[in-house]
């Protein structure tokens, strides 16, 4: 009964207290200690703190069964309460802002393009170049059929030959070749072909040039060179591969035989033919013919007999020598002519010119000769070179000089016989050399080579000597006289300087730049010395005079005042300026006197005063100046109102200074003052559009960017509503957790 009553009473109290919204907190209840303690009546009064879950578990500390519960409780405690989700507008705003920043960043990629287009000198629209739309011939053909009999016939032919008619217009082979070769490969191949062709053409040109050379001697030398080369190769081959060498030998033998067979000593040559005609009537001619035939026989016979016995060799040698004789004679003559024209000319009056002309050509020669001298016997190749060079030199000489005419007949004396014989003899010699030992070969080579050499060397050395002599002389005459003395005196002064080896080296041009520098240095030093020495003397002169006039203090003061008002002559300056302006604005008199008109004239004579007075037109007095009564003002009266109407008053925008503007105005752009090209360049319009051409908006692909069209739809389709719902879901989830 009581319990019920108490409880009801309590309930009532609670209900009443809960009615009042503001004081929802329960008032601390003070009650007597009683036996009955209500389990619902737990309060955290007094401490004023919230009831924490952990407090409830305090009494069950000891029991281990509730440990898991406790842990869970801790976990719950550690988690923070989830913040309230933002309202929808706020979320949208954030999304918008993020999207805006993103797109702004994306758009920034256009900055350089836009800037470039804005600053471009000229823009031609449409920006992208249109490719001319030419239909390929296959398409044109496909829509066309053969109708007339002629056409049909042609098509039949084409079909028979497996020529393609329609798309694509290529034979299978062509197609394969097209597929086979890439562009780069084709380019490389073409380049290779071009190179080969070029080389071929060079070679051909060279061959032609060589072929054109009429000189027998040249050809002889070339042949000899070739033979020698072959010989060398053969020797090498013999060392390396004897079997192959034998074969090679046989070949050489055969070649020799062929040469023999085709000899001109038979009646096939021009000379022989003419003689054959004459032989009927002329006894001498007949004899000559017979002699020749006999010679031929001899030669062939000698061939038939194998050249193994020493006797035969000796015979051949003699023969060779015999044959060689005319050549040698020729050579001697030529040699006498070759360098000699120079010598001859030197004998004549115009020696200097010839010498100057010759010098550059002759200079390289002596060196070569020296080389040949030292190595000539050991190396037969060098000898060849000499011959060749000599030959070329002579050719050039012949071209240039008239005197070479004398040399020409000498060259023409060489007959065909001799040349052919020479070739043969060379071959023979070479073949012999194969069989002989090295020593004998050397001897022969020397016997052949040295004869011309020696003869040639003589003039060469003669040339060398004057040149060698001249050089030092020149150096001495020109600059030594001046510099030697100076250098010597320098050396005397500067003892510490290391003395050079000899006077010769001092004279060399390497030293020369040093000398003037030193000279300059000395001069500089001298000047300084002068200054330093003079300045104190000046001071010493000046100071006493001032001291005599004034005291030091006074002087200082005056100086200070002067310094303070140094440029302070403003008033006088202004007055002067005004006077000048007035003078300038005054109308000038016109003097029309003509000196020497009606009286004597000339240097130092002046027209008489009377005449001057007569012809002087006095300018009328202008209107009074506006600043006549204003002493402090200068009014410029030059300004013309009429011209002012045509003048720009304010500096236009892009210009920062008036002279920039003036300069742009002063440079004319018309074709009257400019060349056509410059005129065109100056008058290019900034924007060019073509009528009838559609100008499309700029595309990312054209400028080289990847277009962002991929993201287009995704961005558009991204539904903001859906996003927000998703976001909300997320929020909900988090709240549930």
């Amino acid at each position: 009964g009581d319990n019920d009553g108490e409880r009801e009473h309590q309930k009532l109290l609670e209900a009443i207290s809960s009615l009042d919204g503001k004081n929802r907190r329960k008032l601390a209840e003070r009650s007597e200690a009683s036996l009955k303690v209500s389990e619902f009546n737990v309060s955290s009064e007094g401490s004023g703190e919230k009831l924490v879950l952990a407090d409830l578990l305090e009494p069950v500390k000891t029991s281990s069964s509730l440990a898991t519960v406790k842990k869970q409780l801790n976990r719950v405690k550690s988690k923070k309460t989830v913040e309230l989700p933002l309202n929808k507008e706020e979320i949208e705003r954030i999304h918008r802002e993020v999207a805006f920043n993103k797109t702004a960043k994306v758009l920034s990629k256009w900055d350089p393009v836009v800037l470039k287009n804005r600053q471009a000198e000229q823009l031609v629209f449409p920006l992208e170049k249109e490719e001319p739309a030419i239909a390929p011939i296959e398409h044109v053909l496909s829509g066309w059929k053969a109708r007339t009999p002629l056409e049909q016939e042609i098509f039949n032919l084409l079909h028979k030959n497996k020529q393609p008619v329609a798309d694509p217009l290529l034979t299978p082979v062509e197609k394969a070749s097209l597929q086979a070769m890439s562009l780069e490969e084709a380019k490389m191949r073409r380049a290779e072909l071009q190179r080969a062709r070029a080389l071929q053409s060079y070679y051909e040109a060279k061959a032609r040039r060589e072929k054109k050379i009429k000189s027998k001697k040249y050809h002889k030398v070339v042949k000899k060179g070739k033979a020698k080369k072959a010989l060398k190769e053969f020797e090498q081959l013999r060392k390396v591969n004897p079997a192959a060498a034998l074969e090679e030998l046989e070949k050489i033998e055969k070649a020799r035989m062929m040469e023999r067979m085709s000899l001109k000593h038979q009646n096939s040559g021009k000379w022989a033919k003419s003689k054959a005609i004459m032989a009927k009537y002329d006894l001498e001619a007949r004899q000559a013919m017979q002699e020749q035939l006999a010679k031929n026989k001899e030669l062939t016979q000698k061939l038939q007999v194998a050249s193994e016995s020493e006797e035969e060799e000796g015979g051949t040698e003699e023969k060779v020598e015999e044959l060689l004789v005319p050549d040698v004679v020729n050579e001697v003559q030529m040699n006498a002519d070759g360098p000699n024209p120079w010598m001859l000319r030197s004998c004549t009056s115009d020696t200097k010119e010839a010498a100057t002309q010759e010098d550059p050509e002759q200079l390289p020669e002596p060196e070569a000769h020296e080389v040949s001298e030292s190595e000539g016997e050991d190396r037969p190749v060098a000898e060849e070179e000499i011959l060749l060079r000599e030959f070329e030199e002579r050719r050039s000489l012949r071209k240039r000089s008239e005197l070479s005419q004398d040399a020409e007949p000498a060259g023409s004396q060489e007959t065909k016989d001799s040349s052919s014989q020479e070739v043969l003899s060379e071959l023979r010699v070479l073949s012999q050399k194969l069989k002989e030992n090295d020593q004998s070969r050397k001897q022969k080579a020397s016997s052949e080579g040295t004869i011309p050499q020696v003869q040639r060397e003589e003039p060469a050395t003669e040339e060398e000597e004057p040149l060698l002599l001249q050089r030092p002389e020149r150096v001495q005459t020109l600059e030594e006289l001046e510099e030697l003395g100076k250098e010597e005196c320098f050396q005397n002064k500067e003892l510490s300087r290391p003395v050079l080896e000899g006077q010769q080296s001092e004279r060399t041009p390497n030293n020369r730049p040093d000398a003037p520098k030193k000279k300059k240095k000395e001069q500089m030093i001298d000047l300084q010395n002068l200054l330093t020495t003079q300045s104190p003397s000046v001071k010493s002169l000046a100071v006493p005079t001032i001291e005599e006039l004034e005291d030091e203090e006074e002087r200082n003061q005056r100086q200070m005042i002067k310094e303070a008002f140094a440029g302070d002559d403003v008033i006088r300056d202004f007055l002067k300026e005004k006077r000048e302006a007035v003078e300038a604005s005054k109308p000038k008199d016109v003097d029309l006197t003509l000196p020497g008109w009606g009286e004597w004239g000339g240097v130092g004579l002046k027209p008489s005063a009377k005449k001057r007075r007569r012809f002087l037109i006095k300018a009328p007095e202008g209107p009074p100046r506006k600043d006549k009564n204003l002493p402090n003002v200068i009014i410029n009266e030059k300004r013309n109102i009429h011209t002012a109407a045509h003048q720009v008053r304010v500096l236009p925008y892009p210009f920062t200074h008036h002279w920039q503007f003036e300069r742009t105005i002063q440079t004319p752009i018309g074709s009257t003052w400019n060349t056509q090209r410059a005129f065109q360049k100056l008058t290019t319009p900034k924007v060019v559009t073509k009528p009838g051409h559609i100008i499309n908006p700029i595309k990312a692909e054209d400028v080289g960017y990847r277009s962002s069209s991929r993201s287009d739809l995704s961005v558009i389709q991204r539904n903001p509503k859906r996003i927000t719902t998703r976001h909300k879901k997320q929020l909900k989830k988090s709240s549930v957790d």
């Binding site: 702004a104 256009w110 742009t664 700029i698």
Partner: protein, 432 residues
Amino acid sequence: MKVKMLSRNPDNYVRETKLDLQRVPRNYDPTLHPFEVPREYVRALNATKLERVFTKPFLASLDGHRDGVNCLAKHPKNLATILSGACDGEVRIWNLTQRNCIRTIQAHEGFVRGICTRFCGTSFFTVGDDKTVKQWKMDGPGYGEEEEPLHTILGKTVYTGIDHHWKEAVFATCGQQVDIWDEQRTNPICSMTWGFDSISSVKFNPVETFLLGSCASDRNIVLYDMRTNTICWNPMEAFIFTAANEDYNLYTFDMRALDTPVMVHMDHVSAVLDVDYSPTGKEFVSASFDKSIRIFPVDKSRSREVYHTKRMQHVICVKWTSDSKYIMCGSDEMNIRLWKANASEKLGVLTSREKAAKDYNQKLKEKFQHYPHIKRIARHRHLPKSIYSQIQEQRIMKEARRRKEVNRIKHSKPGSVPIVSEKKKHIVAVVK
């Protein structure tokens, strides 16, 4: 006896063919050609005068509509074709070279609010007051067929504008919200709203095609003035667009920095209703309620040209043709007018000498443009009396405002009255 003779090599003065130019040997010694500047000045003056003399921009008027022309669209692939929608729901397709109407469609009941062509030029879309979006074929129906739209979408609200994507089969409409549509579906892919103002115009960016600008609210761009009538994107500069505003001005913005316009273009004396960029991106044309259209260079705040005719009423829509040579405008009094973009330009093919002379004159005008005489002549335009008087009036108002501002600054504590630049003055707020 020695006879001195002149001998000339005919190669130096005889042309190879008749078509070659005559060789004129010239001496460019400046002493032989004095007075460069005065001579060029006179030439420039003459060029400017001649330009004014030859200024005849008006080319043709296309009449046939029975109500005011409300919207214009140009064919993306064909320069000679344009489309126009009128206030009575009629759509007409015109041929500019023949200057006649090719086709007439009664597309909607009530206004044709917007018209746009598909990027491929095969079809076009219209929206009208009858809450429908219709897609039409560009070619007319065959003989005996009825004029029917390809698709018709019935909407819930009135659409006020439409624009087609530049690359894909997507278009956008605006009205109470901006809707993005797939061509194949009858429901929008997504609709976007911001606030509760209705949206008057929507435009896709031609370069960065995913960008969409609308005049009231938009996903990407925040607009400043809810009274803006329309915007147009620069076709060469992806982030630049120009907005035509009700406060008589046009504003060019860089969409990355919206708090200050790049340029404020002011010359109109009434609300600006439409704007369109030249395909070169260097100029744009604006149509205004003051019965005139003006051409502005993008980087100048003043217009370089104003076009008007006696009969042209409030200009509602304007378009610049794709070859940047002509301008079309549709106006209240049912006519579409064709203008030259460059008023004094000679039409047709020019010979090379004509071209050279033109370029030279142009350069001269440019060079001497700051000289007062030339400036005066070049700037002189005849204006209808209404516009002229309104300009005067507004000048007075503006001067008064400026004076007041100056006085306020003068008579208050220095620094307390901030000096706001003309550019910033017009921006109400930037809403994120």
